[in-house]
Amino acid sequence: MGNKTPLYECHLEMNGKIVDFSGWDMPIHYGSQLNEHKQVRAKAGMFDVSHMTVLDMRGDSVKEFLSTLLANDISRLTQPGKALYSCMLNENGGVIDDLITYYMDDTFYRTVVNAATRDKDIAWITKIAHDFDVTITERTDLAMIAVQGPKAREITSKLLPPDLQALSLDLKPFFAVESNNYFIARTGYTGEDGFEIMLPNDDAASFWRKLAEAGVKPSGLGARDTLRLEAGMNLYGTDMNESITPLECGLNWTVAWQPAERNFIGRQALEAKKDNIDIQFSGLLLLEKGVIRNHQKVIVEQADGSTSEGEVTSGTFSPTLGQSIAMARIPKTANDQCWVEIRGKKLAAKIIKPVFVRNGKSCI
């Protein structure tokens, strides 16, 4: 028996197939992962993400603290509610976790970290916070629901507390608004428009049921994974971990080198490495029938005819494209084709930018 979110009973009522996810009893699907995936691309789906960890960080030196803790630059956040995606690195530049931080005011930031990394994240954050005037509070009193899809905002806004209905619709992408413990963010992990909503645990089940009545389909962790992979979004523990730097998993854009004097944790290690990266983090599109899976070998041919090997970090069948896609760490190459070894056979794949689908449309 694992941990249960406040929506556990809803999942059982809606025929969710429950699996263990990092110690949490979570729905993998509610009948058909494919239908749930397509529903999000076409209209709206909802995900229980209450297992994720919400940390409120308050104090006079919270900005200075986050400026040390995060590889992206927290000072980029100047407007209340604005969100920043960043990696949190160790001294070697390896990724401890990827997370989202919202700027609420000069002494209050809110961060959401992964469920699977909760314990080590809190241990690390607490350790670094020791040298700053910062208080970290875990918001176990809040549940979290992601509503995603082209119709998600329109449907969801009507069901919010009255004071948030208009405000939520006015949100620009990557902004959030909060009122009375309801926190509405225009963010997500699917490549579609939508909201991620934090709300009191006691309100979560009735809100979920109202969304369902309004036509939002419950969607499981299975669809969440195929949606994020199509959108080209990394998954912690799969596409990166503590021995991989952001420079080796396609997250260069999240490392803020300027200002040069900002000495974030991991900076020295990244500086030493950044001109010697000989791998490229790529998207793969399988040109033959089959499904690419995590850890399969990728064979790359260089201009001189020699071959070298890389590895699939995330592979799946793309329901939107109807063919298999993957993210992979491969040797740098000028070629646009490679081979993936699947059960002893070498199948041809095209090397592309790792973004496959955005806003319901193919990027290929």
Binding site: H29, S32, H37, G222, K289, F317
Partner: protein, 131 residues
């Protein structure tokens, strides 16, 4: 509750076999198996002419979630593979016992049929393994 036709024989790895009038076998996976696998998106059928041994992997079914081996239900020679599955792998989800068949086999040793379960025994087997 999954569908278990009484006229078929079943293996512990959730394959079914139907014996045709000419003594050859038609093989697929059970309704219970397709439910466990979820949405099927690719099937690697066995090569026609290949010899397969009972309980050895001979085909692969990939769902959105994962790849799963399909084991040979009996020893014998593959005489036909369901080529329609290449373009419509979801047929196995929709109709596992008829259109979703995977291969036809020339049975090498008919006594192996005695090792398989009838519908009642398979039903009991599923209930036991689900507990």
């Amino acid at each position: 509750m999954s569908n278990i036709p009484t006229e078929l024989k079943y293996s512990q790895t959730h394959e079914w076999i139907e014996i045709a009038h000419d003594g050859t076998g038609i093989v697929g996976i059970t309704d219970h198996a397709q439910e466990l696998l979820g949405d099927i998106v690719f099937v690697e059928t066995p090569e026609v002419g290949s010899e397969v041994s009972r309980e050895e992997p001979c085909a692969v079914v990939e769902s959105v979630k994962a790849a799963s081996d399909i084991y040979a239900i009996l020893t014998g020679e593959i005489i036909e593979s369901n080529e329609d599955l290449a373009d419509a792998p979801e047929t196995i989800n929709n109709n596992p016992y008829v259109d979703g068949w995977i291969y036809k086999i020339k049975i090498a040793d008919e006594s192996e049929l005695d090792e398989l379960m009838d519908a009642d025994a398979y039903q009991a087997f599923i209930e036991e393994t689900e507990e």
